[in-house]
């Protein structure tokens, strides 16, 4: 572990307790989305469009309605026609009308798998059989699948009502929802004076988060108008807001109970099934559960966008960056909202770039609307910038490590899109890798049949702060229960509880955390943006401080002294005036009844920003089978700045998991899409995520450069780890095979082609 300054002293933070919810999860008792079982519950099924782009000319549900075992049938006409408006979901802002249309098509389908109707039936198979009885007539339209087609003059326009924003100008009849530009200095003049300028165009595949748990939602719309939703989501309050907006029901009539969540990575922020289950429930008078099948998850939920990224970088004769430009184009899917802004923030964030221009385009195409996917938009952009840097280093004969260190962004550096960095760990991560045994090791040389190479790349994710609430209840036995509003995807109950425990002077095990529903905890933004341990942890610290403060008042009452005479030191309440007076937290808690009753405190925060985000540097060794193009990952090391690792095991786990997801994206994962917009490989079999046999152990180095924006120095760390892998692998592959690839997935077929090109000298 690299520590760059004198750390605070901690008793709980930095230890590795067993997670509180672990026991339920290893016993199979934890209740995930589709594990919800309610009295009288029936099962929903969704009819999805076979076409990527078509007008719906007729929907006849009468035969399905007449089928025995069917309780309710719905289609777009059963959803209110809501007006266009901003739907602020904490990290992203969607449009209400578009969201309604995405959840259930009204008069037009705009992606394959677009819901057009749904049924609720006595059991799953009856529901699926009933779908076959729904008659839908379509007028098939030309699908717009490629970015080129979507952006071409005279392109088929997917949404007639879409008003594009081209650098602030309104544009009608377009598929380009947004064109942004971020500019500083004079890149053209700087390029002209540069010793070396390199420009390349990269293509990155649309990729799915690949969470193992499919979306599943259950809803009960009671006769009194109250709607209860049980759902697997990263954003229970976002679900509440969306269901309220789409169904035009009062926000407070909706209670969202987040179940355990079987992975999300951003993909479980949007609402898909909840309003449909609610409408079916209202019609049927019963709770309705809908579970997506895996094909629907691939076809109709929101993966990360694919795109085309052109990057240009100039350096002087010392290798110092003079200027950089980028043109980032992402396919948002059927509605606007590709993650172009974080792409702009991240693409050159690892460097000090004096002259910069970044254009970005959010382009609508006839595929499912993309969603956040771990460091949204940034792995794609960084694949381009860091692979370009790898090639630039080859050209100028400089080691990538030296290049990074020479140009490193640090405190005070202006991020290319504007903000100035506070204290960050970019340089510390580079130094950590530089000092690693892996970096110092010698790569086994290539042989005739096995080509070996090493590559590195850095990456950045800013993350967010935002709003969170945490309630702590002191029990009479001296233990505390803690309620927070962020679904726990990877151990955050524990990392939040540990921060409270640190303040309370209790062991982590004595804080019992639970994820509350939207009626039982104050507003909390989503589990996303690497914010949960960071921002909700801050709320937990706030709540714990309030508890200690109140406990001091109670102790003062018992000892019949002034509040100001009570101190909380090393977990003990002590009296400044009577040194023999000492209470442990437990002893004090046992006496609350005599002092005015229960102590329950809620900390609420609205944390501004992330404190500079988290940088990471990855190093990878690959081996390529010259005959087949197959790639083995021989060794992998990930270093990343955690600020302060609350639970180092779960920090390592985030590094490792992100690295392997990134390796999958780099090597094999893609949406293999037909010309008519059908994802052909919509199974785990053919989507080809890494298995346990495809990766080595992932070595980790936790770098700790304290975040000045968090009481303990904690940084959000969940997302950065997916940013460096693809360019690190690309650079390693180039090092191994002597030819560069500019497109993901860098699969065996493409590597063979590259090797053949090299052989023929083309």
């Amino acid at each position: 572990m690299t520590t760059t300054e004198k750390p605070q002293e901690f008793k709980v933070v930095g230890t590795r307790p067993i997670r509180h919810d672990g026991i339920d999860k290893v016993l199979g008792r934890a209740v995930y989305g589709s594990d919800v079982r309610l009295a009288g519950m029936i099962y929903g099924a969704v009819l999805r469009s076979p076409y990527a782009h078509a007008k719906i000319t007729k929907i006849d549900t009468s035969k399905a309605e007449a089928m025995p075992g069917v309780f309710a049938v719905m289609s777009g006409k059963d959803m209110p026609l809501v007006a266009s408006g901003a739907l602020d979901l904490g990290e992203t802002v969607d449009d209400t009308a578009f969201t309604s249309d995405r959840v259930m098509a009204h008069d037009k389908v705009v992606f394959k798998g677009h819901p057009v109707a749904a049924v609720a039936a006595i059991d799953q198979n009856t529901g699926l059989e009933a779908l076959k009885l729904i008659e839908v007539e379509y007028e098939v339209l030309k699908p717009v699948i490629s970015l080129e087609d979507a952006m071409a003059p005279g392109a088929v326009v997917i949404h007639e009502g879409l008003i594009g924003d081209d650098l602030g100008e309104k544009v009608n009849n377009t598929n380009i929802a947004v064109h942004n530009r971020s500019e500083f200095g004079d890149p053209e003049a700087a390029f002209a004076k540069s010793a070396t300028v390199l420009e390349r165009t990269f293509i990155i595949s649309r990729a799915h988060q690949g969470y193992i748990e499919p979306h599943a939602s259950t809803a009960f719309w009671a006769p009194d108008g109250k709607i209860t939703v049980w759902t697997t989501t990263q954003a229970p309050f976002g679900v509440r807001k969306t269901v309220s907006a789409l169904l035009e029901q009062p926000l407070s009539d909706i209670k969202v109970i987040p179940t355990e969540i079987g992975g999300g990575f951003g993909g479980k922020i949007p609402v898909y099934l909840e309003p449909v289950a609610a409408v079916l429930s209202k019609k049927a008078g019963r709770p309705v559960k809908i579970t997506m099948d895996r094909r629907a998850v691939f076809e109709a939920s929101g993966p990360g966008p694919g795109g085309t990224i052109k990057v240009k970088m100039g350096v002087d004769d010392k290798g110092k960056i003079t200027a950089a430009t980028a043109d980032i184009r992402y396919g948002a899917g059927a509605y606007p909202g590709a993650s172009i802004n974080p792409a702009t923030a991240g693409i050159f964030a690892c460097y000090e770039v004096p002259n910069v221009r970044i254009d970005s385009y959010d382009v609508v195409i006839n595929m499912s609307k993309t969603a956040a996917y771990r460091a949204p938009g940034t792995p794609q952009a960084t694949f381009a910038s860091e692979t370009l840097v790898g090639e630039l280093c080859e050209i100028i004969g400089m080691s990538p490590m030296d290049f990074h260190l020479l140009n490193v962004s640090r405190e005070g550096t202006r991020r290319p899109d504007g903000p100035v960095f506070p204290r960050i760990g970019n340089e510390a991560c580079l130094e950590a890798i530089q000092g690693s045994e892996h970096f110092k090791s010698t790569l086994e040389p290539s042989t005739e049949s096995k080509l070996r190479g090493r590559g590195m790349a850095s990456g950045y994710w800013n993350g967010i702060g935002n709003k969170s609430s945490v309630t702590i209840n002191v029990n009479e036995d001296g233990l505390v229960s803690l309620i927070e509003g962020n679904p726990d995807i990877g151990g955050t109950r524990t990392t939040i509880a540990m921060q409270a425990a640190e303040i309370l002077g209790l062991p982590a095990e004595d804080v019992h955390p639970a994820v509350g529903d939207t009626d039982s905890i104050g507003y909390s933004d989503l589990t996303a943006g690497s914010r949960t341990t960071y921002a909700t942890g801050t709320a937990a610290i706030e709540a714990a401080k309030m508890v200690i403060d109140e406990m001091k008042k109670r102790v003062a009452m018992i000892w019949e002294t002034e509040y100001g005479n009570i101190e909380h030191v090393d977990g003990l309440f002590v009296s400044k005036v009577a040194p023999d007076h000492k209470f442990t937290f437990k002893e004090a808690a046992g006496k609350l009844g005599q002092t005015g009753g229960p102590v329950a405190m809620t900390g609420t925060v609205n944390v501004r920003g992330s404190g500079g985000g988290s940088f990471g540097t990855h190093l990878v060794d690959v081996e390529v089978d010259r005959d087949t193009g197959k790639v083995e990952i021989l060794r992998y090391t990930a270093a990343q700045d955690a600020g302060k690792a609350v639970h180092p095991s779960y920090v390592e786990g985030q590094f490792q998991g992100g690295a392997v997801q990134g390796i999958g994206w780099a090597l094999n994962e893609e949406y293999y899409t037909s010309d008519d917009g059908v994802m052909v490989n919509s199974t785990f079999l053919d989507y080809r995520m890494p298995t346990s046999l495809d990766v080595p152990m992932i070595e980790t180095i936790i770098v700790e450069v304290a975040n000045t924006n968090h009481p303990f120095g904690v940084r959000g760390i969940g997302e950065t780890s997916i940013v460096p892998p693809a360019p690190a692998v690309a650079n390693a592959l180039a090092n191994a095979i002597g030819v560069r690839l500019y497109q993901t997935p860098m699969n065996p077929g493409r590597i063979l082609e590259a090797l053949a090109t090299k052989k023929t000298g083309k």
């Binding site: 067993i18 997670r19 672990g22 026991i23 999860k25 290893v26 016993l27 199979g28 008792r29 934890a30 209740v31 995930y32 589709s34 594990d35 079982r37 089928m67 025995p68 075992g69 039936a121 006595i122 059991d123 799953q124 198979n125 009856t126 059989e129 690949g210 969470y211 193992i212 748990e213 499919p214 355990e260 079987g262 992975g263 990575f265 099948d293 895996r294 995807i489 990877g490 151990g491 639970h647 095991s649 779960y650 390592e652 786990g653 490792q656 998991g657 992100g658 690295a659 392997v660 997801q661 199974t683 785990f684 079999l685 995520m689 298995t691 346990s692 046999l693 990766v695 152990m697 992932i698």
Partner: protein
């Protein structure tokens, strides 16, 4: 159509041993063992990730062999001895694998965990000395998207060593 599918094909009665208990159930013949476990018997610890045998989240042990319960009919359980995640722990305790998964932080979201545990238990029962490559091969039918597998492999190794 005048009948629901459930009515047009009569349910079948099945007797088996489930997590050590003699168990009898009635189920439509076309339901998978996974559906029967989850819907008919309420054992939701066995998870559905793909429903086509490519993720292993629904792994259960049938007569000593691990199978994807989505790729077996419930009706086929007749006479079989089946163990699900709910049967892995001894009464009042944890199996060493479960303990190791907790200690090694081998789960993040936890949805794949039951499948991994059932698979790994079968491996260690058959091959108490399984090494890392063998563990990786045996678990290749279980997808995990959160951990990158590192801590899962370490947990299985730890349990292996403790079970000796």
């Amino acid at each position: 159509m005048t009948q629901t599918p459930e009515q047009s094909v009569r349910k079948v009665s099945v007797q088996c041993t489930l997590n050590g208990q003699p168990t009898e159930f009635l189920a439509a013949p076309y339901l998978s063992l996974l559906e029967v476990l989850r819907e008919t018997l309420g054992l939701t610890g066995t998870k559905e990730g793909c429903n086509d045998g490519n993720c292993g989240a629904c792994t259960v042990n049938v007569d000593g062999r691990i199978v994807d319960s989505c790729l077996m009919l419930g009706a086929e359980a007749e006479g079989k001895t089946i163990e699900t995640i709910e049967g892995v722990a001894p009464a009042g305790g944890l199996h060493p694998l479960q303990q190791a998964f907790l200690e090694e932080a081998a789960l993040q979201c936890g949805i794949c965990t039951p499948g991994f545990l059932v698979s790994a238990k079968a491996l260690l029962e058959r091959e108490p000395d399984a090494d890392e490559p063998r563990i990786r091969l045996w678990l290749a039918g279980n997808l995990c998207r959160c951990t990158g597998y590192d801590k899962i492999i370490r947990a299985v190794e730890k349990a292996r060593d403790e079970m000796k």
